[in-house]
């Protein structure tokens, strides 16, 4: 998988940074404007998938190695659980104990912002992993099958 033409590669290099910034905005402002961890995480995953489609798997895995994606996936799930357990220290599971702040400000609404970030890590890295599994692993096994048949 060597990637697409020079035009696609150049445009991708321009656009990928903006897509990641937009995804981060959707995640961080999930408690103020439409959006949230899930949508923002998918947008960030789409940026890396665009990189993989345009440049091939080597460039994409050099930016986001498979191992890092695995670690981020597990870390997101663990972070979600830890924020839930943090509420137990004061009251009940998932009690909103963080400072609520002032409504309509970025740092407000307690645990909703960290939970959004955790979901974004989880969803983004896991969807990137699914795409890489479907695009790379299966392609390799297909080629091996064809080679077996030819041999």
């Amino acid at each position: 998988m060597n990637g697409m033409t020079l035009i696609v590669k150049t445009i991708t290099d321009f656009v990928v940074g903006f897509i990641i910034v937009f995804g981060t905005y959707i995640v961080l402002y999930g408690h103020l404007t439409p959006g949230g961890g899930f949508a923002g995480g998918v947008i960030i995953a789409c940026a890396f998938i665009l990189l993989m489609l345009a440049h091939g798997k080597d460039v994409a895995f050099s930016k986001m190695p498979e191992k890092t994606a695995h670690i981020l996936d597990s870390a997101g799930a663990l972070m979600f659980l830890l924020i839930g357990w943090f509420g137990v220290t004061v009251g009940f599971f998932f009690m909103n104990t963080f400072g609520r702040g002032e409504a309509f400000r970025l740092l407000s609404s307690g645990m909703i912002l960290p939970l959004n970030i955790a979901i974004a890590f989880k969803v983004g890295s896991s969807l990137f992993l699914v795409f890489s599994a479907l695009a790379v692993f299966r392609r390799r096994s297909f080629r091996a099958m064809i080679e077996d048949e030819l041999a």
Binding site: T33, G35, A39, C46, I49, F93, E102, A103, V123, R140
Partner: protein, 185 residues
């Protein structure tokens, strides 16, 4: 609020036609693109209904799924499907359609459908009224899914985690075994 029913009906007709095309067409790629068209129409319908949160999520997931499905179908050599109509499948789907209509008539037959935009569940009223004072969260959807029902969202995250773990384990094993066989040969 202006009357949006005609637009919704137009989108609904478009989505039904798209679904029928996706089922009936012989080419897998055409079927994938028809499914994607249905998804995009659904996202526009959510925008008309005033749910931008769901519209964004639907749009983004639709794009990702479209990429994955096209990627999957292009790798196949033969994208045409020859399907013969299975009588059992047709009879089963007709029976289930009849059951759905029957239960709908049982539930809504006596008192009629609720007014458009009038929810059946009364619990949403509590969320709308106490969402901002209880959580200080300007986006009511976020306050429901991450504060009032954070436990549900954790279950959702667990389902995603487990399914992706399983999918990766299955696909990974195949790739690795093939590689080892090639090396051994």
């Amino acid at each position: 609020m202006e009357n949006i029913t005609p637009q919704l009906y137009a989108l609904l007709v478009f989505m039904i036609v798209g679904s029928i095309v996706a089922i009936e067409t012989r080419n897998l790629l055409s079927a994938v693109i028809s499914v994607a068209a249905v998804g995009f129409a659904l996202s526009v319908a959510f925008l008309f209904l005033g749910a931008p949160d769901i519209a964004i999520t639907q749009l983004v997931v639709e794009v990702l799924v479209l990429i994955i499905l096209i990627r999957g179908t292009i790798l196949l050599d033969n994208t045409a499907v020859e399907s013969h109509r299975d009588t059992l499948a047709v009879v089963t789907s007709l029976i289930f359609f009849g059951l759905v209509l029957g239960f709908g008539a049982m539930i809504f037959g006596g008192r009629g459908f609720p007014e458009f935009g009038e929810p059946l569940m009364r619990v949403s009223r509590v969320y709308v009224h106490t969402g901002l004072p209880a959580t200080y969260c300007a986006n009511i959807v976020s306050s429901v899914i991450l504060d009032f029902r954070a436990y549900d969202t954790m279950g959702e995250a667990t389902v995603l985690f487990t399914s992706i773990l399983g999918a990766l384990a299955l696909l990974r094993k195949d790739g690795k075994r093939k590689e080892e066989e090639v090396v051994a040969a």
